[in-house]
């Protein structure tokens, strides 16, 4: 059994939140550049140029890409052959609080009724920790996400009529969600789709996790799911919403769908969006000394 010290987890969480807030993963930047090249609306092209200027300035000045530095979220997969010594909760809280002060991040975690604002972005159960587990794994997978509110607010989860053509129902539900979100989800977005997983919370987590799939815009191993991803990707980019709703043929950067077993009486469909400034950072903690930063390999 490998033992990882909680202070190492804290250090990694701090670096992941910091770098995710300041620098886009290279694959997202590449996808934006490809979108810019295929965009045909001249006004939309000006929008893309501003996005690239923004990416450069944030990197050079080490300031957040977006003023909405989000609700900090951590996705952690533990293995059966690895153990954390010390408090995971405290490591995550301390990392978040320090990053909030140092970068600085916007102070925006607030009490949902009184609106009292936390100065550290820690409080009332935030940051959430999404824990997963894998047999035989002797390292820790960890991802930090500063999850902005604009894209988050536009998620949908519906339960279609069980007897209908399921592929058509999924496509229609996703296109409806994209139409409703318009440009206000900060298009071009990464679209995450969840299907099945009894209970809408599970379906939503499927959609949420699908958004962060690497490589970006790769296809699901199940060819039936991959076909739906492909159809939706091409349909969404024909909708004409364009960057931030200004019009154009670049409304999404990627479509990722994931599935889990449903109930015989049907499977719910969830749709989640990540704005063009799709900020996330991933690492593997191999040991107390060896950490692989996957999306931001230059982290020291």
């Amino acid at each position: 059994m490998k033992v990882i010290d909680s202070s190492v987890v804290e250090k990694v969480c701090y670096k992941l939140l910091t770098h995710a807030s300041i620098e886009l993963p290279p694959e997202v930047e590449r996808a934006l550049y490809e979108a810019y090249q295929r965009e045909t609306n001249p006004l939309a092209k000006i929008y893309f140029q501003a996005m690239f200027d923004n990416i450069t300035i944030a990197r050079e000045k080490k300031v957040p890409l977006c003023q909405d530095t989000g609700i900090p979220m951590y996705y952690i997969t533990l293995g059966s052959e690895v153990h954390i010594k010390g408090s995971l909760r405290e490591s995550v809280n301390r990392a978040t609080s320090r990053a909030t002060q140092d970068i600085p991040l916007r102070q925006q975690v607030s009490h949902p009724l009184t609106r009292e604002v936390s100065k550290t972005n820690v409080g009332w159960g935030i940051p959430p920790i999404f824990l997963d587990y894998r047999d035989g794994q002797d390292y820790i997978d960890i991802m930090g996400v500063p999850r902005g509110g604009g894209a988050e607010a536009k998620w949908q989860c519906v339960h279609p009529y069980p007897g209908v053509d399921r592929k058509k129902a999924i496509i229609k539900i996703v296109l409806d969600a994209v139409s409703m979100a318009g440009g206000e989800s900060c298009t071009p977005t990464i679209i995450g789709i969840g299907l099945g997983g009894y209970g809408r919370d599970y379906t939503e987590v499927l959609a949420r996790k699908a958004m962060y799939r690497t490589p970006l815009n790769s296809r699901h191993p199940d060819p039936q799911v991959a076909e739906i991803e492909d159809t939706i990707y091409h349909a969404v980019n024909k909708m004409g919403i364009g960057p931030l709703g200004i019009g154009g043929n670049t409304t999404c950067l990627a479509v990722h769908m994931d599935i889990a077993g449903g109930h015989t009486a049907g499977a719910s469909v969830a749709v989640s969006f990540y704005c063009w400034s799709a900020r996330y950072s991933k690492a593997k903690i191999m040991s107390n000394e060896k950490i692989d930063y996957i999306t931001h390999p230059h982290i020291q």
Partner: protein
Amino acid sequence: MKTFHLQLPVSKRAIEELNTGDIIYLNGRIVTLRDRSHQRIDEYAKKRLDLPFALKDRAVFHCGPIIRYINERKWEAVAIGATSSSRFSPFVASLIKGFGPRIVIGKGNLFREAIEALISHRAIFLLTIGGCAALYGSQVQKVVGNYWEEFGMADSVWEFEVSEFGPLSVGIDCKGKNSYEQMREVTLKENLEKIYEELDIDPNIDFTWWPQVPPGTKRATAYSIKA
């Protein structure tokens, strides 16, 4: 699509020259507003009270910035970018009628009452490129003041001196022409018709079984469609 470099305050004539899709760079003073400050300004407008800061010759900006606090009266803009304007739409009319700014900067869309106020007061709605807060932050020359500090970093009112603040595009001009509405109501609808035809999906079918809408509200049922 023309490009304009404007100095605040802007005249009524300068506003009338601008059309949806034009690109704007602003120079002068802008004031940030967000949920709590917008709401309080609405109360001040109703009670005809004076505000502790000027709005008339400024542009207002729907934004909750990230600020570095240097000392009690000195701050630095770190990242400033627009938040979704649609949620302030009910407050925009009273803001313009009561306090007279000619430029509202934001993201997304505004609705009927706000647009009517823009038309009658010769004002415009400018769109930022959402997510470009590092870029817009770099165009702030000076953080001039902070008001209603009790609302916290994001919701209190910040006054910035900006230079070549942009690119911004005219979202709603003073004739009421609305680029976002044009996209949603014309372009998107036409495109969806074609997309659904190609995919052989009936656009009038709502596949949703649940969530339902409350009794008395109309929603098409899908029981009639083929499995």
